[in-house]
């Protein structure tokens, strides 16, 4: 479980995150949605320690990230996996080396144990034969899969995915969404997915946090979201074209 309490972050004059509080539960896929530039990535980057917020608490099962000493931080890092928007695979490494890299850095597993782990997670993301390929040889969907494999190879307790659907066709998007959702349940982890895709919201959104201009504007689940009378949220939902597609289809 990740608990965010009163988080504030500014870049110079630009107050990007305004007093954000939320609870992301274990074993659930939580979605952070909002228009481009609303502060979603900034929130995720604060949570994993890439940037420091000015005020607030970020509790990882009770441990406040901002209060930890270096050793405790290192231990917590082992428990965090991150899938970046563009996958961010290391392009001078093969798929296998990419997936093994966090194990080399974060764990003391033997060579053989690492290999077993690499095979396991590549199998899990349905890329059992891609070991020796380089990122430049992969399609967008395959890169996301490898990105997920790299994120989950140290068996994290917390998984962050920044726009896992960006650059993917609708079919592949659904496959990746479901992969993330299934992994969350299987490994019983706390998963945060940043998205602005209504299809994902309806498919996997067990908890949804809607951010508007850096403020928490709405929270709920995918059953409640279509009944909302929140103006900004409605316009976000409508802008995605989701409802009109549904109407046209039915």
């Amino acid at each position: 479980m990740i608990e965010v309490v009163g988080l504030n972050k500014s870049f110079g004059e630009n107050h990007v995150l305004k007093d954000i509080s939320a609870v992301f539960e274990t074993g659930k896929t939580s979605l952070i949605i909002g228009a481009s530039g609303s502060g979603k990535s900034t929130l995720a980057r604060c949570l994993v320690g890439l940037i420091a917020p000015e005020t607030g608490k970020m509790l990882y099962d009770g441990r406040d990230f901002l209060e930890l000493n270096n050793k405790e931080k290192k231990a917590l890092r082992k428990e965090i996996g991150f899938l970046f928007q563009g996958s961010a695979l290391f392009d001078f490494m093969t798929v296998e080396e990419n997936v093994r890299f966090p194990l080399d850095i974060l764990t003391d597993l033997s060579k053989k144990e690492k290999q077993i782990r690499v095979d396991e997670v590549l199998e899990r993301v349905e890329l059992p034969t891609a070991h020796k390929l380089f990122p430049s040889e992969l399609s967008g969907g395959m890169k996301k899969r490898v990105g997920i494999a790299r994120a989950i190879s140290p068996h994290p307790k917390y998984l962050f995915c920044d726009e896992p659907n960006s650059g993917l066709d609708p079919q592949t998007s659904i496959v990746i969404d479901n992969l993330i959702h299934d992994i969350t349940i299987e490994y019983n982890i706390t998963t945060l997915v940043i998205s602005h895709d209504m299809n994902s919201v309806m498919e996997i959104g067990e908890y949804i946090l809607f951010i508007h201009k850096g403020e928490k504007w709405w929270e709920g689940d995918n059953k409640k979201i279509l009944q909302t009378d929140n103006e900004e949220l409605l316009s976000f939902v409508n802008a995605s074209g989701f409802l009109s597609n549904k109407k046209a289809g039915s």
């Binding site: 890439l50 931080k73 290192k74 991150f82 961010a88 290391f90 392009d91 850095i105 974060l106």
Partner: protein
């Protein structure tokens, strides 16, 4: 001026992180080896071609300019050797490599920045600046003196070919000239320059790439800045090192 000081400060802080204690030695060893191969071998061809023609031209130019009965013709060999060792091999090669290696480093690291690969390293607790930059600097500082030695031989060899195939200077005079009054200290001076220049043409473009922000366009600009700045700094450093060693 304020911007210059800002960048100088940021550069020094980056180098501080680059040279701070690495967390896991084993992951560096392979990187260092890879970088030595890619920085060294990949530049060998261009270094040899350029040095060959450089030496040939120095010989012809010297001959053309001292066409006098009072200057013995072994001076041509002597001058070719001296200018090759003291200036052309260390400095011109550094400028060539600032273009080739420097732009490569800036765009590689810049691309890693804008595609969030650097963030991915940081999340895993890796000191990304050390992991990406240190192997390049060390590899280059070690390899570049060897490249310069090779350049010296090839350049003086280029002059030898001129002596052999033209009648500007006789082979005997040229060979006598290149052996005349040889001072090992000059080679020490040249190789020290090679090491310092290698530090400059790797660390300055690495700095530009590391702090690139935006997209492909910005990476391109960072790469250009890296090359231009390291070339200028190399020439300024050349002046100070020369004053330090030779006066």
């Amino acid at each position: 001026m304020a911007s210059f000081l800002f960048h100088l400060g940021q550069y020094i802080m980056l180098m501080w992180r680059v040279f701070s204690k690495p967390e896991k030695m084993s992951i560096y060893r392979k990187r260092l080896f890879d970088e030595m191969v890619s920085l060294g071998l990949a530049s060998l061809g261009i270094i040899m071609v350029i040095s060959l023609f450089m030496g040939a031209v120095i010989t012809i130019q010297t001959a053309a300019n001292i066409d006098s009965a009072f200057i013995p013709s072994y001076t041509i060999g002597f001058t070719t050797r001296q200018s090759t060792i003291l200036e052309f091999s260390p400095t011109i090669m550094a400028l060539i490599l600032a273009g080739k290696v420097g732009s490569n480093i800036a765009s590689e690291i810049g691309l890693m920045r804008v595609t969030e690969q650097i963030d991915a390293l940081e999340i895993m607790g890796v000191n990304s600046s050390a992991f990406l930059i240190l192997p390049k600097i060390i590899a280059s500082v070690i390899i570049n003196p060897f490249l310069v030695i090779i350049s010296m031989f090839v350049s003086i060899g280029g002059g030898y070919l001129i002596a052999m195939f033209t009648d500007i200077v006789s082979v005997a005079d040229y060979v006598y000239g290149i052996q005349l009054d040889f001072r090992p200290y000059h080679v020490v001076y040249a190789l020290s320059k090679a090491a310092v220049f290698a530090f400059i043409f790797t660390s300055v473009p690495a700095y530009q790439g590391y702090f690139a922000a935006g997209g492909a366009l910005e990476v391109g600009k960072a790469s250009t800045r890296g090359v231009v700045q390291s070339s200028i700094i190399i020439l300024i450093a050349n002046y100070f090192i020369t004053q330090l060693f030779l006066i």
